[in-house]
Symmetry: D2
Subunit: 507 residues, 4 copies
């Protein structure tokens, strides 16, 4: 029986045997925990949107032959990738936070092409297994989490060189039915809200790291898994009882550390096992998809721009030229992210497996902007909001018979604006620039899918300096020996752009 909507999804999470720790205690039922629930609500939106806007948030899958949630869909065209971006922006607008399902979507898509190529080389059956798994989750309409980031220990050492072998998730035992893994994944987004986790290696591996080259699917409540819930700025406001101070009372993101202790993966759910030379391909394809998935932040940007416009209106300064100019600048920055993201999706190519992979250079440009522009948009939102955003009393003061009337009297904005509405918008801006969703809008924008330097490295790999040097030297009439003109390039970005093997470029 597939899950049909958000409410059924939330119901499906109840009663699992999860071991989740928060504030030093085991959480009885995450669904009912006031600090966890908003992150579940955000995922629920991904179900409801698929019902309400099926063209946006679902797709017909050639694998299962049915209309599936887009987060479970393998991209069959560049347009499918563009549609992911559209859906991501929309969900960003609807939740104002991280809705936690992109990792799973991007993991399935990168595994789809990678397993195909592993099988081609090694004669393995991973691709077929994966397809079966995908068809199952499509039919049942489940949430997939992806677990990639190991805790890493000493960063100067490879997985097998670590003093403690558990610094990267690895196989500790194997039998005829499958393998057992141990280790921990940090910064895991939305795993507790998923039905399945796909475990993947986090970086390029060598022959000696073979036991670390493991990919497989695991139910989130499999024996041996421990979740330790991460703190976020202002997280406990959800537990205070009111609804204004949280800023965005309905939705939030979720981060946890996931610890595996001899967790079993049966053979039919293993999608890589020892083919270490494919680890980097998997990671690169995943990050290529995922860096462009950060287009979701333009949806959050829309909310924050809207909140800034609303508070300017409430403050009676909506027509001040400097306010309008700041709103334009915020929009320019936000759309610049969007443009780079969908350009990356549009410029996709078909992989050997038949699914579509977006452009890597533009995906990195998109994510790199995401590590900068939301901070600037946030700064301008704070500028427009005014200082009250951080000096305003608590909701309890508003509700109190002693202080409530004083605040009602003294915190009035322009005529016709209710004090409470003004407070609500200010708390939303606080939520997105300092509070709980600032984690998603700012810090996660910085580090998710790779920190800024990771994008710079990837841009450097693809920037084809030799090609560009030749173009410059030709115009400057520089003549050099043969050697200088044949330096190899590792990237084919310009071949891709110009759609030819570019005969002209080195004439």
């Amino acid at each position: 029986m597939p899950i049909k909507n958000g409410a059924e999804y939330i119901q499906s999470l109840r009663g699992r045997k999860l071991k989740v720790y928060l504030f030093g205690e085991l959480v009885k039922e995450p669904v009912d925990h006031p600090m966890i629930r908003p992150s579940i609500n955000a995922v629920a939106e991904t179900y409801d949107l698929a019902v309400e806007e099926p063209e946006l948030a679902s797709a017909k899958s050639s694998l299962s032959g049915i209309q599936v949630n887009r987060f479970l869909h393998i991209a069959e065209s560049a347009q499918d990738l563009v549609n992911q971006n559209r859906m991501q922006r929309k969900l960003g607008q609807l939740t104002g936070t991280c809705f936690q399902r992109c990792v799973g979507m991007d993991a399935l898509n990168s595994l789809y092409s990678t397993t195909f190529e592993i099988d081609q080389k090694h004669g393995t059956q991973y691709h077929k297994r994966l397809i079966e798994f995908i068809k199952m989750v499509q039919r049942e309409n489940l949430v997939i989490g992806g677990a990639m980031t190991d805790v890493k220990g000493d960063r100067s050492l490879s997985p097998s060189q670590q003093e403690d072998p558990d610094m990267f998730v690895h196989i500790t035992k194997r039998d005829s039915k499958g393998v057992y893994i141990t280790g921990a994944k940090a910064h895991q987004t939305g795993c507790i809200n998923s039905h399945w986790i796909i475990v993947m290696p986090t970086m390029r591996l060598k022959a000696e790291d073979k036991d670390y080259a493991i990919v497989g699917a695991i139910p989130v409540d499999a024996p041996g898994i421990t979740y330790i819930y991460g703190r976020q700025s202002c997280d406990t406001r959800s537990m205070e009882g009111g609804e204004i101070d949280a800023g965005n009372v309905m939705y939030s993101g979720q981060e946890a550390m996931v610890i595996f202790k001899d967790v079993f993966i049966p053979n039919e759910l293993i999608f890589m096992d020892g083919e270490y030379e494919f680890a980097s391909m998997l990671v690169e394809r995943f990050t290529c998809y995922h860096r462009r998935s950060y287009v979701c932040k333009t949806g959050l940007g829309d909310v924050l721009i809207g909140a800034a416009a609303a508070i300017a209106d409430y403050n009676g300064v909506a027509n001040a030229s400097h306010i309008k100019d700041k709103l334009v600048e915020m929009t320019y920055l936000n759309e610049a992210i969007f443009g780079a993201g969908i350009a990356s999706s549009y410029m996709a190519h078909k992989t050997a497996s038949g699914n579509w992979q977006n452009d890597d250079m533009l995906a990195n440009v998109c994510k790199h902007s995401v590590t900068r522009f939301p901070y600037e948009i946030g700064r301008m939102a704070q500028d427009i909001a005014g200082g009250l955003m951080v000096t305003m009393p608590s909701e309890k003061e508003f509700r109190s018979p002693e202080t409530g009337p004083l605040l009602e009297k003294y915190l009035k904005g322009r005529k016709g604006v209710s004090t409470e509405n003004r407070m609500r918008i200010l708390r939303l801006i606080e939520n997105m620039t300092l509070g709980r969703n600032a984690v998603g809008y700012l810090t996660e924008s910085m580090h998710g899918a790779g920190s800024p330097q990771a994008q710079r490295i990837q841009i450097a790999r693809q920037m084809q300096l030799e090609y560009k040097k030749k173009a410059a030297k030709k115009l400057a009439n520089v003549k050099e020996g043969e050697a200088a003109e044949t330096a190899p390039e590792q990237s084919d970005y310009f071949d891709k752009i110009f759609g030819t093997k570019d005969k002209k470029k080195v004439k």
Copy 2:
């Protein structure tokens, strides 16, 4: 007989009855003028590229049924618009300057849809006439210049309010065969290198400006036209005889003022005559195409990045981490422009006439970045180049028996690098950041297709603050009266993005 390549194109320009003034004198033959010729060479590249890379720089036209130069092609799909961007970037790489043909291409395309809609309303024949004109220029393979920017006089007054009626081009006389126009167009790119000029109004017009609502095609050497050539930084270096100091000796842009004194346009070449209410539609569609055409600057950016990488190599500092980091930053900025441009092209829609129009928001984002990033790329190129770029002696010193050997001795870079090659690359960087092509790479990037404030106005028009405010208020649980929720929006950007009428957004 169509023009077949660059050489034939250059030949086709000879012997025209052009009245071109430069340095106070009539130019005998622009083709042979050393300061003008590089701008002609740049246009010639648009012909040669169509021969060498037909998929990139030509297209099959449904109008004439033949393979035509892409600059003369009416976009029949979003992909056609993307291909324009690809070609523009390539030509930027090949010439390192403005190749001057985008205005004509964008003018034909915006006129194509606008004339169709004028005819629909007024029962006129402009669209058919235009198609005949396009078929002719496609067959003969001609260069079309577009003349839009009037000199404007007092900017606070409309065309018909000006003290001197000639501040905007307008009809001064009409007879049964056609009309006569007078006025001047400033900042005209490449007109002298064109075969035909299409004259268009420059802004929104009112009923009283009817005589200013004139669009028509005119041969560049029609009686009554005077060209006054514009100066550019370092322009006379082309006349000094050497080839190093010019930096890019082969190619340059071209700007002129074009003055019309009772110039005749026959009826069959008139594409608008008095339908003043369509002037703004034409201008907006043209600037929408044209702001995205500034993707060409990424080709120049490629050259400048290549030059910076080359000089870093010659200086022996190519591996310094701060140098590599600057090259990455330059690339990031350059590709950010490219991403926004092609995203705008990909997100095109079909007009009533059947051709395709790119997305306006993203076109403005693209151009707005163009008003900023090339300056920063140029700054970093100067950083990498070192001070020698602006303290280096002239080519004549290098060629002199007295000083040549001294320079050869003292201006050596790292081993294996010729002093002359080092100088050549430095002069190219000077050319693009201070010299003649800095006009094209920097100042034209600022003002061409509209100055920064023009893009901000256009972004403001489309930013849908009401939509965004609703998204924010929903998350903050703000309840307001009916009025607040029905404020109209002039833009449908989000409808376009989400591909639906977006039922969900205001729930």
Copy 3:
């Protein structure tokens, strides 16, 4: 008996009749409230520093003839103003937050010169009264808060035009002994931690606003005053019992709304009463001092740079070139603020009253940078910190026997670094970029002493465009009529810089 140190200061706060509301309840003893206490600790540091570094944090006052806390000192030289900046930076380093005493210091100094000039014009006695007040607080070594920012109501209306007259603090009653005031001041920093509050008008007033032109000193626990404590991001972490999660467990800032209901000010403590035309002078002099006082943020910047350097070290990446480069950039930005601030202090002039006033242009430049650079420094600190900063479990997990060992195992950094220390530094960075002291380091930097647009207006007033236009026209050999050359200028910035009446400038 003067207060001698921080401990005595804290003791002096006990047992006052303050009416402070927080979370809907009256606070029994602010000194013992875990959420308020850190803000008191920060003020206590200003006492201890005066003991430990007397040259930095105290000064010999000519008024009382004794060595006084520098926050109570009237600047007797430019060097005194520079010394304020030095002390501010030091206290920023020692507390990592807002230590809340600058408003009082800047209020006393601006009142000192303004009362002198009121007296000169009106024959009043305000200056003498003020001196007596200052001598008293110097002798007793008390904390002075300044209350300037009214709640303002409808910003398009002046104080006397408001529907509710209480939107600005004003006199409601007067008798032979003094006056009674009503109204509210928002965003009041450290008032609860002060012994006296000085109430001042917030903007330029007109004749009809006479009752709003009131300045006076009031004990913080005077009858009729109600304080409503403001919320800050993560404020309740101080109440959770641990000491890691708060990030900076010892120190914080404090913001409150202060509501006056018929509060009495005796005649001898009134320093302005009806001289409305001096309100703008007072405000301008105060903001001139205060915008430069934001040099304190460079001390916070030092802490954040240090925290970023420490975490880079703990993560084992201290030698990565991009990390070092970011630390340099953070330092550059931080010192740029410092440079502008002390330049403003050094370029001070003596007022008619004999105290010293810093330069206004540079004070505004300093504060304007403060509205930008801390955000960028914060962004880079988050970049260096890594994602763990926002995904890390709570201190309770670290202390728990179940999860503690798991975290100890999996969150190890490089060899020799304790997991706890790594967590502590990450929480400090969170505290300063998202948490409680992000309010002080970021949002208060934006809005304190005036929002960015306020500085731009002030810079515009002083930028002497006419002077600059003349300089340009002279070099361009522009000749114009007489009128153009005599446009008046409201600023004398260049006269001040060049130390002459600048005869040469307009030749």
Copy 4:
């Protein structure tokens, strides 16, 4: 007989035996060369200003006991250093270009303290000799050029390791009367316009580089010196005869390569000879002075801001809010440079020799901003100027009877503005952002006194990360072993700021 003013100065340059090459030919008389003369005019202004504004541009010297040009004055107080900055800004306003005398001033001051310390260690007589030299040039009122930057050859090798020993200036011969030097100095500013050149080493030297450790004074027309004049953007416009197109017809900078072939320095003019370990001290003190001397660019900034304001006025858009906002931003950036520069001067300390040395950290902050902000100011000036700046016809067209009236008619701005004046201002903006003085305002701002990376290295040396880490760790309650707490620091910046040995900082 001292030189008394600019006119006498120009006269004093005539008839020297200089060997200057330009465009492949020996220049007969530089004073009369139209391309060189504007650079001489700029130096002449430094004489006239001393006459007209003696407090600004001259000082009483304790060495000679007379009032001397400030460029020849040894700083006797921090105020003297501040006054240098004031004079520099003024001269920047008066000339709109590089007036070329700061190198000499900064060389004399850094030599003053360095020779004193050499003598202290080695018992040499350099300081006394230098004083005699200074007294002589003060009495005769001469221009001193400083020659520091060697051509450097292969940058990975030290002077004595170079294949060609002449890549750094060095002693080739010595006799009882003095030494003979050979080598070349690149990027030499204003040397041809000087009376004396002081040759100095360009970097840290080792024992084996002893022959490169030579400092001495040489008359500019000494036998064996060859000057090769550097090209600048648009340099030949000075030779075209008109006066509009040059933009700033009166003033320009000057760069040349200076080649020494066995040039003699008599013993009494040698100020260092073999004391290689003092080379880095000299270079560091010189660059410390000189990086702060770039405050001159704020004077150029004033001119460019003025030009932008003037053209906005001529274009009739002076009141547009975005124009005003850009002028404010330009001013903010310009004053931020000024603030850092004078802060560095104010925070000076007295050297062992008795003269004053400015603060190094703030000098580097000042110069680092100079490598960024003028580019942004220039970009905004181009934005305000409009496209006409780069499409405008030549002055000859304006003067021509055919085209002049057309331009007069069509290039009118708002009423009351002459077309010629509009053109003049546009050419001035072109001059400063693309043309000849863009070299001084932009590229020299980038590379003069060290390229950006040089400042970053120097900032890194002084940023005291250990100090800052301790401050952070104290607030985070981090406890570490002894070792961590005693890491040494090479800088004493904070000791200097806090004016104490800062006992508190590491508690």
